[in-house]
């Protein structure tokens, strides 16, 4: 079974998104977004309760 060659040093490829130079930075941004969404949901519930 022919497989394409395995990746080497693939971690070196940055996310390539504006304002996000490392993967760790991207994960922090996603985590921050998640926290913001939870806060917004809590605020939404409170506002309409």
């Amino acid at each position: 079974m022919k497989r394409p060659p395995a990746e080497k040093r693939s971690d070196a490829e940055p996310p390539g998104l504006p304002g996000c130079r490392t993967w760790r930075g991207l994960y922090l941004i996603v985590f921050g977004w998640f926290a913001l969404v939870v806060l917004l949901l809590a605020a939404f519930s409170r506002f309409y309760s």
Partner: protein
């Protein structure tokens, strides 16, 4: 449904399937067949991961959940972004570095062949049995409300998905997912806009949201530590993290969606796309359900939304009782509507005491109506203990069929079928791939280098699983309690599976003999507990995983230190 609806429905469904099969008909490469086109970008991967998870039940049941219990169910997804970050940072780089086709191939490289076969067998057993339910569950609802023959719906959806999944494998699945998700997003947005337009003119979105909130339908975040509450911030964070990690990290139907692609970056961004969008998407589907609840406070609402089930009993011995309940419910809905209007006026008058009294009256009126719905279900059960009393799955489809304009009805029914096909295609693709790579190639090692034969075999196994799914779905109609049994079966096996992978990634000193024995022992423990204890079956996910981890550590310490030669670099 009229001709326009049929044209929209058949045109979108058959058109997407035919397009997927046509565009991928020339695939000869095993790598492309199993992992999709090598140039696949993060957008396609992200949409494909989302389409795999979103089954027809997502769009039929979740609005019903919002209608019945409010939007608190959204907390179930709170662990998902965290799980996806872990999969991106730990699981995916190793899968790509080892260049595997299946997650279980990784177990073979990290441990040994018997552990790989155990992982593959657990997946095939659990996903193989569940595969019929993916077709059956939406088919029973759609055939009930549309009056179609159940067996024809099952066979139509099953054959359609088999055609393009067998033809183009993973490439066809990814390609069709994009168009199916476009139909799904377009249809759901249409339903949302129509619903907002049909709310009373003086109410609008803000008024409707205030009514839903006052009646307890908009509590999205519950920080209570009460263990009896099903959905809280904590169960969502911890239970959701655990379930999402096992689903996205170890279930081949998801792993296959993101291990392909042009590079590790594309897979990672595809997963992060889901981490960002999944909670907002589920929120909007639940919000749609909560707004449907408000809509049906101002419109004649059926006492019981599964009208076929209701009519089946309305002409029997309980006829007069059911008619009485319907009359009482109509009066109760009228009272609730008047109480809501009174509360809105009191709220606008800015007198806190009047507002408080009006709110209490509104809540009391709503509770009376709710009690009548509960009495109706009890009345159905009294005449037929096997009556299907869960009618929330029928709320959204009832709205679609009775309130949407023609054309939009066809589009929304297409949404349900698109969702059924998208999740089914990923399952068949994963089952065919795992059977070929992890089972068949072990039995036919000499055929490993014959690429054309491998593709042919993968196609045959995919078709075989498709036929099995259709047969099982047809059979499920005769044994409905099988569906719950299969959901329970998933929880019984998922925990141990995640345990094996967590040992593989995080306990590097544990070897194959220890983890294999530990997994078998943990699985036996879970099965014994299942038959001897009376606890919620979701707990078996946690118990199976924890037992597998603990037994692995214990056995490895008894066996002595493992030689490092068996270790996989980077794993």
């Amino acid at each position: 449904m009229n001709v326009v609806d049929w044209v929209v429905l058949v045109g979108t469904m058959v058109g997407i399937a035919a397009y997927g099969a046509w565009r991928t008909r020339d695939i000869r490469s095993l790598n492309t067949y199993l992992r999709g086109r090598p140039s696949t970008g993060w957008g396609t991967i992200g949409v494909s991961v989302m389409a795999t998870q979103a089954s027809a039940i997502t769009f039929l049941s979740i609005p019903g959940q919002g209608f019945e219990s409010g939007i608190g169910f959204v907390q179930n997804y709170f662990g998902l972004p965290l799980a996806l970050i872990i999969v991106c940072a730990v699981f995916l780089p190793v899968y790509r570095r080892l260049n595997v086709y299946t997650a279980y191939e990784f177990l073979g490289r990290r441990f040994d062949e018997k552990t790989r076969l155990l992982g593959a067998a657990l997946f095939l057993l659990q996903r193989g049995l569940a595969t019929g339910v993916t077709i059956y569950a939406p088919a029973i609802i759609l055939s009930t409300v549309l009056g179609w023959r159940l067996d024809l719906v099952i066979v139509f959806t099953g054959v359609l998905v088999i055609i393009y999944t067998v033809t183009g494998g993973s490439a066809a699945v990814g390609l069709t997912h994009k168009w199916q998700m476009a139909v799904i997003f377009g249809g759901m947005a249409t339903a949302f806009v129509v619903l907002l337009a049909k709310l009373p003119a003086d109410l609008g979105f803000s008024g409707a949201a205030h009514v839903a909130g006052a009646l307890g339908k908009l509590n999205a975040v519950d920080v209570s530590l009460d263990p009896s509450r099903r959905y809280t911030l904590w169960t969502g964070l911890f239970g959701g993290l655990f379930l999402s990690l096992s689903y996205f990290g170890t279930d081949q139907s998801q792993v296959q969606r993101y291990i392909g692609g042009a590079s590790l970056r594309e897979g990672r961004l595809g997963l992060m796309f889901n981490a960002v969008l999944k909670i907002p998407m589920q929120f909007f589907i639940l919000l749609l359900g909560a707004l449907l609840f408000v809509f049906y406070q101002f419109e004649p609402a059926p006492l019981f939304f599964n009208r076929a089930e209701w009519q089946r009993h309305a002409e029997g011995p309980a006829a007069s009782r059911l008619q009485t309940l319907e009359a009482h419910y109509a009066a109760a809905v009228g009272d609730t509507q008047a109480a809501i209007r009174a509360w809105l006026e009191a709220r606008a008058s800015a007198h806190p005491e009047a507002e408080g009294a009006a709110r209490a009256a509104m809540v009391a009126a709503h509770q009376r109506a709710d009690r009548l719905r509960a009495e109706a279900k009890a009345a159905l059960l009294a005449v037929d203990s096997r009556a299907k009393t869960k009618d929330s799955d029928y709320v959204f489809i009832t709205f679609i069929l009775s309130k949407l304009p023609h054309g939009a009805i066809g589009l929304l029914v297409a949404v349900m079928f698109a969702a059924a096909l998208s999740s089914k295609a990923s399952e068949l693709n994963a089952l065919g791939t795992t059977t070929t790579v992890d089972v068949w190639r072990r039995l036919r090692p000499l055929a490993a280098d014959d690429e054309a034969r491998n593709v042919r075999v993968a196609k045959r196994f995919t078709a075989l699983w498709g036929v099995f799914a259709i047969g099982f779905a047809l059979f499920a109609g005769f044994a409905e309690n099988l569906i719950e049994a299969i959901n329970i079966l998933g929880s019984i096996f998922y925990g141990v599976m995640l345990g094996i992978f967590l040992v593989a990634f995080f306990l590097r000193h544990v070897g194959g003999d220890a983890v294999f024995t530990a997994a078998v022992a943990a699985q036996a423990l879970v099965i014994v507990m299942f038959f001897s204890l009376n606890i919620g079956y979701l707990w078996y996910n946690l118990i199976g995983c924890a037992a597998c981890l603990a037994f692995s550590l214990l056995l490895q310490s008894l066996m002595g230190t493992r030689t490092p030669s068996g270790a996989v670099r980077g794993a």
